[in-house]
């Protein structure tokens, strides 16, 4: 493997060893909490729609909202400064600190001040800066970067924090429990707050009509940082503005549930500064008394690339982000590595690609952008419905195009008839052109299989393409599904009520032809007139490598290839969930509206279609059921990530249950294989780590004797490599002819 790849693999292994356990425990805890908490919220989907609409509207009208905020905040008695970039914002706050002769600055948690490195700038000015959020305080003491948007020290365990504090502060009695650590920090930071000259906060939201700042917190440190010192500086990205006070409500309902899985945090502070609360001089013996004019408030609205993001059709959605961390917590890769691997300078998790590319430059996402496998599990979890995988794909595409010319391109020449620029990473180019390889593989099988499996080939593949030699390679079938269908001698049903194309996706057509044949037999047994025409591959493979132009070319070919059938009223039945997700999802971005809609409307996941046939009166008797199978009727089913995002898992379980099977389902977010991801040598260990969560579930006592079934090709491959049982596609359980 190339040294760059091996260094990356080594770094991922190191972080998994040192931080993985804490990250996994916390992120999965938040994730489970989120599922439970949003389940309790009656109008969850309606709130998401409203939140999305508010953000769309706010970003659309941002310039006038900024002016409105300036007016309302100034009318309330505060000052607004619109900072072009980090340097501008830092300069403003530094000058303020100089004017105030500030010695101590206390801060509550703010990712935006992390983005601009405000602390360092204030320290240069001679200020002592204290992070009063306990997670941020831990990072400050440890001199580390946040590993999570909401819980910045998520990677540290109690034991590690105790060790850190005992080393650093040498307390009279050694600190051990979380209670002791908290009490120590409260006392220590409490003194800093009492002495503070300036309090710095971020803002979760800023309302334009009332000039109100909203802060979502739990510890009470933000309240104290605002109340005690007489000067308050709030630093907020311009995207935090919403039009009205009432617009806050859906966000208050959603933000904590989406983040840490609490229904609401302890405190949601809503204040239109300067606040009414009297300042406290802890050296005075006089009763605390108010003189509101003593207070000074500055709102620093930060652009730092945001207005350019607003003009960028692809990155604009990032500005809707409320930084709740749902995309990180629901991400299988993030659960294994946290934000120190899956994150950039400031931001972490799936949405980090948008933020880092927008505020720190496109290249700042290079290191971690590939960690998004496009599994799409985050999409439904995002309270403002951002298509996070798409943002990752777009930035990957742009970076591919910006890459230097490579000198090893000739090695994959001929295998890569793509639309991409020279210099694209060979590994990406190889996986992105899997169709060409699969065609060649089938034509030359079994020689291709034998050749690919020889040690010199595997060595070269690993060294040049970064294909991990620990992975088994797919075995190409000599006869493709399309050829099998063409060559077989079966009478077509006459007067069939349903006509369907079984889409020969790349894997079903060249590698796992058996599931395609089973699908054809099953549908025919249910009275469907089936066709398996030669159709181009969906473009999922190039898309996942960030090769959007190539994917678009595939989309056009697929649509053209299916033209006649769609015109003739055929439905399109799709076996591979990631391809169905293309048809229903990404094709909207790749095809003209009517071309997209006519395909999306007619496309069905295989079991969704079977379920529909049952509902419309087809007889299940033609299919095999649990009784006729003889062996174990208990199955353990792992649905595919994209299938679950499309909410299609239930059709497989329902059909299997109707056929008498007892179905247990996995509840991990992803199998870890995610298409080509698990084949890449730099990500192999991470892929296995993620897969072990699924393995653990299927090796529990209630699952260990069950037949394992999975809908996705990569899920099957991952399961096959981890379990001693041979996993299979669920269609093979009901296939009438075996």
């Amino acid at each position: 493997m190339s040294s760059e790849r091996s260094q990356k693999a080594e770094r991922i292994r190191h972080i998994m060893e040192t931080e993985g356990d804490s990250v996994e425990r916390n992120a999965r805890g938040f994730n489970e909490g989120r599922y439970e908490s949003v389940d309790r919220l009656e109008d969850y989907d309606a709130y998401k729609d409203r939140a999305r609409a508010i953000k769309e509207d706010a970003i659309e009208n941002l310039p006038s909202l900024i002016e409105q905020v300036r007016e309302t905040v100034e009318a309330n008695g505060g000052t607004v400064y619109l900072a072009d970039d980090a340097a501008d914002a830092n300069r403003y706050v530094r000058e303020l600190a100089r004017e105030r002769e500030a010695e101590t600055v206390v801060k509550s948690k703010s990712m935006t001040t992390e983005e601009i490195d405000l602390n360092e700038h204030l320290e240069t000015e001679g200020c002592e800066v204290w992070e009063t959020d306990l997670g941020e305080f831990v990072l400050q003491v440890a001199d580390e970067a946040p590993s999570h948007l909401v819980a910045p020290a998520i990677h540290q365990s109690r034991e590690e924090i105790a060790h850190l504090f005992n080393e650093q502060f040498d307390p009279a009695e050694k600190l051990e429990t979380a209670e002791e650590l908290t009490a120590f920090a409260r006392e220590y930071l409490g003194e800093r707050i009492q002495d503070a000259d300036i309090g710095v906060t971020g803002a979760n939201f800023v309302t334009a009509d009332t000039g109100t700042i909203a802060l979502v917190t739990s510890e009470g440190n933000a309240r104290k940082s605002i109340a005690v010192p007489d000067t308050h500086v709030a630093v907020a990205g311009v995207e935090k503005i919403v039009p009205t006070f009432e617009d806050l409500q859906p966000f208050v309902e959603l933000i904590a549930r989406s983040g840490t899985g609490q229904d609401i945090t302890s405190y949601v502070s809503l204040f239109s500064p300067p606040v009414d609360t009297p300042t406290v001089n802890f050296d005075s013996d006089e009763p605390i008394d108010s003189d509101a004019s003593d207070r000074d408030f500055h709102l620093v609205l930060l652009d730092n690339g945001r207005m350019d993001m607003r003009d960028d059709d692809q990155l604009r959605e990032t500005l809707y982000c409320i930084r709740c961390s749902a995309c990180a917590n629901s991400c299988a890769n993030f659960q294994s590595v946290g934000g120190h691997v899956f994150g950039g300078e400031t931001y972490s998790g799936g949405i980090a690609t948008g933020w880092e590319a927008g505020v720190h430059g496109q290249e700042s996402a290079d290191e971690f952008n590939d960690l998004c496998t496009g599994c799409s599990r985050c999409v439904n979890q995002c309270p403002v419905k951002i298509d996070i995988p798409w943002i990752n794909t777009v930035v990957r595409d742009r970076r591919n195009r910006g890459a230097d010319d490579g000198d090893l391109d000739f090695l994959v020449e001929g295998l890569t008839p793509d639309e991409e620029p020279a210099g694209l990473d060979l590994q990406k180019r190889f996986f992105g052109n899997f169709e060409t390889l699969a065609k060649l593989g089938s034509t030359t099988a079994p020689v291709s299989n034998w050749f690919a499996g020889t040690p010199p080939s595997r060595y070269l593949m690993e060294r040049v393409l970064g294909i991990d030699s620990r992975r088994e390679l797919p075995t190409f079938e000599r006869e493709t599904l399309v050829e099998w269908f063409r060559n077989r001698d079966e009478p077509r049903p006459v007067d069939a009520e349903y006509h369907a194309v079984v889409y020969p996706d790349l894997y079903t057509n060249h590698v796992r032809t058996e599931r395609g044949k089973a699908a054809v037999r099953t549908l025919e047994a249910l009275g469907v007139a089936v066709e398996v025409p030669d159709v181009a591959s969906s473009g999922r493979a190039p898309l996942s490598q960030g090769m959007i132009a190539t994917a678009e070319e595939h989309a056009r070919e697929v649509r053209d290839d299916l033209d006649a059938h769609i015109d003739a009223g055929y439905d399109v039945v799709v076996i591979e969930p990631s391809d169905l997700a293309m048809f229903r999802g990404e094709y909207e971005r790749l095809l003209e509206e009517d071309r997209y809609e006519s395909l999306a409307e007619r496309s069905y996941e295989l079991f969704e279609y079977i379920f529909g046939l049952f509902e419309n009166g087809a007889s299940a008797e033609a299919l095999r059921d649990a009784e006729s199978i003889g062996a174990s009727t208990d199955v353990a089913y792992h649905s595919h990530c994209q299938q679950r995002t499309l909410e299609l898992e239930t059709y497989t379980t329902t059909v299997l249950e109707r056929q008498g099977f007892d179905v247990l389902t996995s509840d991990v977010e992803c199998c870890g294989m995610a298409g080509s991801f698990g084949y890449k040598s730099e990500y192999y260990d991470l892929s296995v780590d993620v897969g072990e969560r699924l393995q653990a579930q299927f090796e529990m006592p209630d699952a260990t004797n069950r037949t394992v079934v999975a809908s996705g090709t990569s899920c099957l491959e991952q399961l096959d490599s981890m379990l001693t049982r041979q996993p299979r596609h669920p269609i093979t359980l009901v296939d009438p002819k075996r």
Partner: protein, 167 residues
Amino acid sequence: MTTQLETFETSLEEVRTGVTRTTPDRFRETLGEIITEPAIGAELPFETVSLEGTNVVLEPTPDQLREAACGVTSAALGVADYGTVVLESTPAGAELTGLFPDQHVVVVREQDLVDDMASAFERMGERFRNGHDDAVLATGPSATADMGELVYGVHGPKETHAIIVEA
């Protein structure tokens, strides 16, 4: 049929907040049983109940603020389905009183309860536009999970208790 008051009480308990119902006549007695001394307070903006004549120190000094075991304040609203109380800041320092001491006792009138957050925001919107533009939606004690486990009582109160004054 669960009443709004009962929903509020259940929600408060779910967010680790003690609940005591009382009437204007019994208010002083109830308060005496709940507060931990030394207690400080911000006068209640209600006609029927007052902190006058109780053991609660009004208009505390910074030292009294720092050393108080308990702070008593009013809530402008109570949100039944969340167990949330809306704490408005006052020039007399209600925000400090409800934040610094370990125990926060909040006095809510039954008539100030609303069903849900939507109603709360409607009411708050009116109040914000009329100058009461500084409030905290407080739900349970302050908390953190940043030290490796969930701990109650961080920079804010460790214990919260609601006294509900029936109409």
